[in-house]
Amino acid sequence: MTLEILGYSFIQKGLVAGVAIAIICSLMGMFLVLRRYSLFGDALSHMAFGGISLGLFTGIYPLWTAFIVSVLGALGITRLRKSTKISGDAAIAVLLVSGLGIGVLLISATGGFKVDLFSFLFGSILLISFEDTLLILGISSGIVATLVALRKQLLHMTFDEEQAKVSGINTDKLNYIFVVLASITVITSMRLVGILLISALIVLPNITAIMFGKGFKKTVMLSISMSVISVVSGIILSYYLDLAPSGMIVMISVAMLVGTLVFKYVNVIGKSQDIQKTI
């Protein structure tokens, strides 16, 4: 039965693009979560919403305008944080509401919500074209290659920015590269789960993986595996249950998190009972 659905080209494209997106969201998300930028993805996607509305309003391809608006927003907010001492969470809030504000304004000017917009809000992975799949694969490979090349510097900066600076890493430049990469990741991933659910892919597999208490490399591999499993099983299950793939993917990630929490809790209780027995 499973093999049969793999024969459909829309499922094939969806799975290929979905796996690529699962990998970049998990990798990028690890650094975002550890830098306490968990909601940065959300802020960027809301900026992208403003950008998409601008695209629909002006007739330019919405993904391009989304990309430009969120990169500019992200760079602007990074600068603002540096020069004005606005805290990280407040900066994210500023980015989020300005994106949403512009979006709502432009949509009302365009004449209300249309189908196009809904696919950006909630994702439409099964509707993507062959060219889009190739584009997503290309961008994802670029992001993975850049992250692998910069992994040592990024890890050091994430762990201790001051020490990274002392050891000769140009942290200002690295921060800018980082937010641009995060923006590209968000724009690329919108097709899978949509603007509203993007944070789930960035945050959930990573916080679940971190709970296993392993080192960095193992935690990254765990997070990627969980992310890929939730995307693949989410797409397949949603086909059989006739439900939205984005919601399915996110809820499988949530289930993994809850499962891990329960497992850990039961383990702790078990251990403390063992200790009581020995006493």
Binding site: L34, R36, K152, L155, H156, F159, D160, E162, Q163, A164, K165, V166, S167, G168, A209, I210, G213, K214, G215, F216, K217, K218, T219
Partner: protein, 264 residues
């Protein structure tokens, strides 16, 4: 050879003078203990040395002026007073120590400068070769071999401090700057740390600048002492410092006041 020369350095911090015309030098192989109460400007001075704090006056490294010594900065090991990191950070002790490694290109740039001024860099860890061996060597020096696969968040304060020392050691630093490294650590952990400090100074021949409130440890480990409270009150051989009763009394009083302030 002078590893570090500080001449007439003053630093304004948040509008007041935190460091006032300080002069001292550090010779190759020195273990200089810097004493002074909290807020004496020690950390600010260290930040100026590693190029992260504006100042007036001159700082020289291996005889090079600031505009020329930039390539040497990555070769300095600096351990700050308190490292704030995400407690759930998924990294093992070895992974954190390997963050201290610096790229070959930076090592070459730095060594070229050192060669030019005739300094024979010990290259202890570089002789070892592979990065993983360098990490292991630093872990051994800091007495952390058995903890290498433990997650960083699971360690005690004393163990953590030794991890940060190992992280600074892994690049075979030409100068190690330690900013009150044992604050808030129990006596046993302190002693372990002091053994490591003595070892890297005598066996690995690493020049160390170390700020501390622990006069007893300084009398045992350091060969030279500097005493500062915004201004420099003393700089010279350890014996001279510890035989100067008036200086010791002043320091003990300021240390007592600080103690009362902290706990009163």
């Amino acid at each position: 050879m002078n590893v570090l020369e500080v001449s007439d350095v003053s630093i304004k911090y948040n509008g007041h003078l935190a460091v006032d015309r300080i002069n001292f030098d550090v010779k190759e192989g020195d273990l200089l203990g810097i004493v002074g109460p909290n807020g004496a400007g020690k950390t600010t001075l260290f930040k100026a040395i590693i190029g992260m704090q504006n100042h007036s006056g001159k700082i020289k490294l291996f005889g090079y002026d600031e505009e020329d010594y930039q390539p040497l900065l990555p070769l300095i090991g600096y351990v700050s007073q308190k490292v704030v990191f995400e407690p759930n950070f998924p990294a093992t002790v070895s992974e954190v120590v390997s963050m201290g490694l610096i790229p070959e290109k930076k090592i070459r740039k730095g060594s070229a400068l050192l060669k030019k001024c005739g300094y024979s860099w010990n290259l202890l860890y570089h002789k070892v070769g592979k990065d993983s061996d360098k990490v292991l060597e630093s872990l051994k020096t800091a007495g952390l071999e058995s903890l290498k696969d433990r997650r960083i968040g699971d360690l005690s304060g004393g163990e953590l401090q030794r991890v940060f020392i190992a992280k600074a050691l892994v690049k075979d630093p030409v100068l190690l700057i330690l900013d009150e490294p044992v604050t808030g650590v129990d006596v046993d952990a302190q002693n372990k740390f002091y053994n490591v400090l003595k070892k890297i100074n005598t066996e690995n021949k690493i020049t160390i600048v170390w700020s501390s409130h622990d006069l007893e440890a300084i009398s045992k480990l350091a060969n030279r002492v500097a005493c500062m409270n915004r201004k420099l009150f003393f700089h010279g051989e350890k014996e001279e410092f510890f035989s100067n009763k008036e200086l010791l009394k002043t320091y003990a009083e300021s240390a007592m006041q600080m103690h009362m302030h902290d706990h009163g």
